[in-house]
Amino acid sequence: MIIKRAKIKPLDVVLVFMLLSFGLFLAYRISVGLHYKWNWSVIPQYLFRYDPDLNGWLPNLLVQGLFNTIRLSIWGTLFATILGTALGMCRISQSLFKRLLGRTYVELIRNLPPLVLIFIFYFFVSDQIMPVLGVEEFVRSRSESTQKILAFLFAPPSQFSAFLSAVFTLAIFEGAYIAEIVRAGIQSIEKEQWEAGHALGLSRRHQMFDVILPQATHRILPPLAGQFISTIKDSAIVSVISIQELTFQGMELMSATYLTFEIWITVSLLYLMLTLSLSVGVGRLEVRMRKRY
């Protein structure tokens, strides 16, 4: 690959000038047109607050929201991966029923607005499934130390059920995309690998789990990591069902303080901090994966 040295051309200068003037124009409209009073000084206290009793700093609304977003994304991706792998394998199964099942799931989920899905799943899952599973009672009957661990990993008892519902909803949604990643990964393995397994007398199950999946996993990992970043972004959507993640906290704060721009810029920066650093990580992962066999 030949990398040319960047040269600044007249057009570039014009573009930079246009961008700059647009930025200035925006700033002017906000300060003069909206009579917006910038008040950045109050933002830090919503990130961390000082607790005199503990004599230390504790995460406040926005950082708590960020943590919840991370928890949601991790668990959501984890369950979505399990679900997506199962359904991705269904998509290429030899059984017509399984193929139809996988296909229906993927097409249904991918062709509906996520917001609509969230409402359907959430009210079904939290209304019907969670009480049946007895999640709430289970958490409350644990010892205090267990509850603390659960609160750290998931959510405090009062929000536990809602949190799990949100995780499952997110997992069902992201699962459809992961199913497609898994399907594509499996199909990218040469059919000769199946044939070699077949000729050795391996059952289809063993061909899949010993020969195909380990190789597919290798190819799936980078797009899967990319999907994790998508999950972080998509998790904002569960704010509509009152999960206290970053976007929800932003909305709460905004309605209390009316510091629209400061809050959303801060929220954006927090999201970017997460997703951009992960993007860099995924990029490195891709390079490393390409180098191996």
């Binding site: 077949h198 050795l200 391996l202 010993d210 190789q215 066999y293």
Partner: protein, 257 residues
């Protein structure tokens, strides 16, 4: 496993280990790869199949171990009919070893793991038992020192020797070789042919699709010349190469010898 009809076929076949009768294979794209193809393969026999590309040689091998479904005809391997019965199909592909043109080793596993896998999964051996067999086989193909290498670190000839060892690990009754040397650099063909030659000497039943006429001449008991899915000529090796009957065979041999 139910195969009550096995003794019957065994008697009917005599010393024929593979019975192929009037087999037809038509691919979905309309290519008629095998036309009423029949042959019998005897125990300990080395059968070489030659013919121009697209003549159905590979398809025949792939049909025998169930990689392709036949459209009509009968294939019986060691008394087990290759039909819709899943158990029959499984038994046949366990009993029939196959070596592919492009080796098809599992790239994510070491040589040792490649050869151990089916022994453990299909023959239910422990890792220790499987490893013992594997090391014996690697000894035979001269690859003991590469047991812990990955396929990607080996030359083509080495990979093919490992692939042969992998197929042998299942203790098959028949070995099918599908152009096992066609993808190799000339200087590596010899090492693979040596392994095959030794196998033939040990009395392994082999069906070999190859373009290596010297090898065919030296090792084979019988030769079949195929074209357009049909058997053009079938003869004992000595006769086939010195005195072919069919004009098409003479023409083919004169082109490649």
């Amino acid at each position: 496993m139910k195969n009550t009809e096995v003794p019957l076929h065994k008697n009917a076949l005599g010393d024929h280990i593979i019975h192929v009768e009037k087999v037809n294979k038509i691919f979905p794209n309309g290519v008629h790869a095998l036309r009423d193809f029949s042959t019998n393969i005897r125990r300990n026999e080395v059968l070489v199949i030659i013919g121009p590309s697209g003549s159905g040689k590979s398809t025949l091998l792939r049909c025998i171990n169930g990689l392709e479904q036949i459209d009509s005809g009968i294939i019986i391997v060691d008394g087990i009919p290759l039909d819709d019965d899943k158990n029959h199909r499984l038994e046949i592909r366990i009993e029939v070893g196959m070596v592919f043109q492009l080796f098809n080793l599992f790239p994510h596993m070491t040589v040792l793991a490649n050869i151990n896998l089916a022994q453990k999964r299909v023959r239910k051996k422990t890792t220790a038992e499987a490893t013992e067999t594997t090391m014996d086989l690697l000894e035979r193909v001269g690859m003991v020192d590469k047991a812990d290498s990955y396929p990607g670190q080996l030359s083509g000839g080495q990979q093919q020797r490992v692939a042969i060892a992998r197929a042998l690990a299942m203790k098959p009754m028949v070995m099918l070789f599908d152009e096992a040397t066609s993808a190799l650099d000339p200087e590596m063909i010899g090492e693979v042919l040596d392994v095959m030659r030794n196998l033939a000497k040990e009395g392994m039943t082999m069906v070999v699709v190859t373009h290596e006429m010297g090898f065919a001449r030296e090792v084979s008991d019988r030769v079949i010349f195929m074209e357009d899915g049909r058997k053009v000529e079938e003869a004992a090796a000595a006769q086939f190469f010195t005195n072919p009957k069919e004009e098409r065979t003479q023409q083919f041999l004169s082109q490649i010898l």
